[in-house]
Amino acid sequence: MAGELLALLWAPFLMCLVLTGIHAYLGVHVLSREVVFVDIALAQIAALGATAAFLLGWEADTWESYAFGLSATFVGALVLALTRSRRRHVSQEAVIGVVYAVSSAAAVLLADRAAHGAEHVRAMLVGNLLAVRGPEVVEVAALYAAVGVFHWLCRRPFFLISTAPDTAYREGWRVRLWDFLFYASFGVVVTSSVRIAGVLLVFSYLIVPALAGIMLGRTIPAKLLIGWGFGTLVSVIGMTASAAFDLPTGATVVCAFGLTLVVLWVVFLALKPAPEHLTPST
């Protein structure tokens, strides 16, 4: 049984490592920008685009469907970039919430016109890791490597806008343009990740390793290394638990992320030096 399980799980496991690589990095940006639910909003927009493609006759696995999803995501990236203002009257999360609600409702309106439309929308968001095979891992790794190179080239404005937006404005960076490029490249990743692994798993890979990195690391390289290590460790734990206890893989990995984060948090609190007691000044 062990050999057969290994044959079934090696490609999904490698895909988990690929997801860890790009998402732990993007998660550091997302947490700094305080736009935690942006991936869910962009995934929903991609699902809306793919639903439109489905209505026009293209099935979910075709490149036309992917192109529709991606184009819709670029529109979402534009909305997110244009709604950022220097003085934050409202949180960007509010805009993200509206984008999510409207794109979900629009997908329902479109799905209303197709047989099995509702199931189609659900399938777009659920994903299934076990369906992953070797060639797909290579394709996705190449795509994310390209996005990684793009982010490496643009690292200065991207990190500056994520961590110190006021400085970016002061130094004269075109913040909206860089924001659009950030969210568009983020959309490329989210659109393909969600099709593979589903919203819950993608959300976990985006947020939890980055949280671990921010909790334990001080510099960006330290946060990234901790995030990557944590994501890899949880992927191993989740996949092993799924195989050993006969559980659905995606949901098991998501729960493994939650449990491991709790353990990490407890260890973090136990090791943290106690703050000195404040005494009222006399």
Partner: protein, 120 residues
């Protein structure tokens, strides 16, 4: 009806796997045997152990076809089918479920033709 029965006659007794257990009446009508379902708990994605058992069963019984409802995960069914040397095919569970199945007769027609071809 006569045409459908005639088309399915040569493949009578063939074993198939369904994604979800909702094609059993159709299979029984034409003398086909559902040996397993890809989904072991309805609505929950299959676990790795269950997929390993399905693969063993398909290889041992010479199963040639996995029937997938249009809303279920075709990509997963295709992976399992490829590893077991079988084919995954979409089953029209309702009118409009697949292209061309615009009425009930057309849906059954599609199912009979596709299955008879895949099981040859």
């Amino acid at each position: 009806m006569e045409r459908w029965t005639k088309l399915m006659e040569p493949v009578k007794g063939a074993k198939v796997v369904a994604y979800h257990p909702d094609v059993i009446y159709f299979l029984t009508r034409f003398g086909l045997v559902q040996v397993a379902t890809l989904e072991d708990r309805p609505g929950i994605p299959p676990s790795p152990q269950h997929l390993v058992q399905i693969l063993r069963l398909m290889k041992a019984d010479g199963v040639k076809v996995i029937l997938v409802e249009p809303w279920n995960d075709f990509k997963l069914a295709q992976r399992v089918a490829d590893e077991a040397g079988a084919k995954a095919i979409v089953f029209a569970t309702a009118v409009g479920a697949v292209k061309g199945a615009d009425n009930y007769i057309a849906a059954i027609d599609y199912n009979v033709n596709t299955l008879a071809e895949a099981l040859k």
